[in-house]
Each structure stands twice: as structure tokens, then as C-alpha cells.
Symmetry: C2
Subunit: 244 residues, 2 copies
């Protein structure tokens, strides 16, 4: 039996946003590996071993998947959203680079609906023109790099989507982010806080940068900042296709 690793995106939460490709690969799997709340979204069945693990052990998890596949297992590493956007795909390739004995492993990445696009769809079309995706967590990069990227994105008049805006261990980062954005974009720029998108807990809140506060975001929130042309129409927020 030849093992493989599929790194699959489960989408933002709702079952009807999981692609048939991912559903099919889960039906073939012998093992599912991932962060506890994501593995909990996979239905248990005979012949399937679930391996839920805690946060911040991405490389251990990736190596475990490669080891199981080498023994013939059909392993699905699950991420929420899309596995290639601030999720497990890069961690698996980092593990392969560190352990070249797995270079010939059959690895596939299966895309999913990433949180920023589900959030944008729920709000209207705030990412309808050029945009950036930025992970605001400073676990793996210094704050100075985050600040530099915020300024470059603002000066390029990109719309922006932020992942991991705020956590208990980083209470000040998002406050600093809002300060940088107000300095670069002014107080009238629209900002949308999209919490738990596509789940029963979904909350959308669009305000101006001038009235945005750090408490509007938490770890389940994706934040979208418009470009200079982003505006409201009725209950929607959208960015026109033309420059202004």
C-alpha cells in the first residue's frame, strides 16, 4: 500500500463550504491530523484514526503526517480555510526540507475557501480590487516587519485582510496596527470586523478607522480594511473595480 499526505482546507466553518474534493479525500483517509477544533469537524468512522493536537505544534504535526504516510497511511492534514494561507501547507514543506528522506512522499494540497474571502462575500465585495493578506501574529515575524508591510500596503492603496489580528498573548499588536492604519489612511477609511464567518456565531461590523477599537477583534475575527475607494451601498460594503 502506498501512503500519501493530503493537506486539505475545510473552509471557514459551514459544511456546505467544504469542496467535494476535500470530502472525497477524507472518505479515503486512514488518519486525520490537525489542530483540535479542525479535527473535530471530521466525522469519526471505522478505519479512521483522528489525531487532534494543540496549537503551536505545526512542525511536529507535519512530521507525524510524513512518518505515517511512509508506513502506508493515507493521511489528511486538515486546516480551516485554505491550507496554503497561514495554515498547514507551509509547515509540511518545512518538515520535508528538514527531513529530506520524505522528498519523494506523495503530497497534495487541496484548496479551500479561506476566511478573508468568506468574510468579503458576507460583507459584499470589499476585496474587489487589488488587495493584501497579512498575518498580524508576531509569533513568527517581528512587529517591525508587520508595521513595514502595513505601511507599504497602505501607500500602494491596497485593500487589506488581516488574519490572527489579536490574541490574549498579544494584547497590544492590534492597537498598534490601528494606529499605523489611521496614520496612513486617515480616519474615514472603512474597516470590517468579520467574526466566526459562516458559522451560527457570525457577526459582521463595519465602522470607520476613526471609530474602530482593538476590542472589536479577537482570534476568531478576520479584519478587512478597504482601499481609498471602498464604500457602502445599502447594507453592503464594496470596492469598485476601477481605480477610484
Amino acid at each position: 500500500m502506498t501512503g500519501w499526505v493530503a493537506i486539505a482546507g475545510l473552509g471557514p466553518g459551514r459544511a456546505d463550504l467544504v469542496t467535494p474534493e476535500v470530502t472525497a479525500v477524507l472518505a479515503e483517509a486512514t488518519d486525520v491530523i490537525g489542530y483540535i477544533p479542525y479535527v473535530a469537524r471530521v466525522a469519526p468512522r471505522d478505519g479512521l484514526t483522528l489525531h487532534p493536537t494543540d496549537n503551536r505544534v505545526e512542525l511536529d504535526r507535519a512530521l507525524h503526517a510524513l512518518q505515517l504516510a511512509a508506513k502506508g497511511a493515507r493521511v489528511v492534514v486538515v486546516s480551516s480555510g485554505d491550507p496554503g494561507v497561514f495554515a498547514m501547507a507551509s509547515a509540511v514543506f518545512e518538515a520535508v526540507e528538514a527531513h529530506p528522506e520524505y522528498l519523494e512522499t506523495d503530497i497534495r494540497v487541496l484548496p479551500g475557501i479561506t476566511a478573508m474571502l468568506a468574510a468579503a462575500a458576507a460583507a459584499g465585495a470589499p476585496l474587489g480590487h487589488d488587495f493584501c493578506a497579512i498575518n498580524l501574529s508576531d509569533n513568527l515575524k517581528p512587529w517591525e516587519m508587520i508595521e513595514h508591510r502595513l505601511r507599504m500596503a497602505a501607500r500602494g492603496d491596497f485593500a487589506m485582510a488581516f488574519y490572527n489580528p489579536r490574541s490574549k498573548s498579544r494584547p497590544l499588536g492590534f492597537e498598534k496596527t490601528l494606529d499605523v492604519l489611521r496614520e496612513e489612511c486617515g480616519p474615514d477609511r472603512l474597516i470590517t470586523f468579520a467574526r466566526a464567518v459562516s458559522t451560527p456565531d457570525q457577526v459582521l461590523n463595519t465602522v470607520t478607522l476613526g471609530s474602530a477599537t482593538p476590542e472589536m477583534a479577537d482570534m476568531r475575527t478576520v479584519v478587512i480594511v478597504g482601499n481609498a475607494a471602498t464604500r457602502r451601498v445599502g447594507r453592503y460594503v464594496y470596492t469598485p473595480r476601477s481605480a477610484l
Copy 2:
């Protein structure tokens, strides 16, 4: 009967990348509106009228959808990929803004797998760190804005994904893009050309900026440029989660 408009993303091409949400809304539709090749992906059936239209008539198409919904039709406006990324969602909201009589129309945006994420998954994980999405078409914005955004994205060390890199009507734009990127990022930066991703015609080609040529892209190609840390591991291209 109350009409509605759903703006739905059909994903990059393969049927198993269409979300169940989109499949379900197509089953309820009375009318499907969109660019000819996208409408061709919807199976005809009794009770469903297909309205394929040519390119560059996005606003007419959007207004048509709103007019049909006002008469009670259940209209799905189809885009490839995700409707909120350089596709029909913004066009529909532009039409609503221009025709406020449609402000109360029931409009939903249904996300899809956008081309850059399908391309990234096929290549490995080149968008695994902060990245930008840029539409290289200058139909709706001046080249100077595109060039400025390319420079800001490069100076922020963002990975980049380009939509609409090249067409017969814009033979020189992508050549200028490559020149700007070589100037900002040097000749060794990795660039991936992903053509017709997820279809039987899929071709992936990763080279360095120094050896990239304009002919490597066409209208069916999504282009991904890595950041300074993007590298190959085996047959994959990936960007590590940490800064360098």
C-alpha cells in the same frame, strides 16, 4: 414570488472544486447570467434560462440580473474562481449604486476557490506567508498605478499573485511587469506560471525572474511571485511561515 440575486463562484474549473453551497443555489435558480465560458459550465435543465454574454459587459450583465430579480426571478450571476476577486461581485454593487431602486434587492455573494489559491495549492505553498493579489489588466486602472503597487508590494517583501497578466490587447504590460520585478527583487526570485489550473490543460512552470519571459503567461495563466524566502523543496515551491 420574491426574486433574488446570488453572485456565485464556480471555482477554477474542475467540478469537485465547486462548493455544495453554489451547487444548491444553481439548483434553485430560474436564470443564470455570466460570461460565455462560465455559463457553459452550468448544466441546462427545464425551468432554467441561461444568459451567456460576452466579456467587458459586466455592468450590463449586473443590471440585467437586478431587473430579472425585481420581476421575481431567482438569478445566479456566475464567475469563475471567487466572485469577489476581480469578478462580478463588485460589478453588481456598482450597478446597485447607479440604480438605487435596487437597494432592497436580496443579494448574496457565494465564495469560491479563487485561481491564485488553486494555483498555489498545485505548486506547493508559495502564498504561505503575507501576499498581495494584483490584477495586471489596465482596462480599469492606469499602468502607473499598477507599477506603483508592484513596487510597494516588492518593498514590503510580499509574495504576489497576478490575475490577467497578459492579453492580445495588452502585449507590453507583462513585459514591463517583469522588468519592474527584476529591478525590485533581483534575478533569483522564483516565479510560477500556472495555466488553466485544475483543468485537463493545467501546466505549471516555475523559473527565476532572470529567466522568465512574457510569453510564459497568457489570459488563462495566474502568475505567483515568491517573497525573498520562497524556495523549492523537491518538486514543490513554498514560502516558509517565518520571516526568512
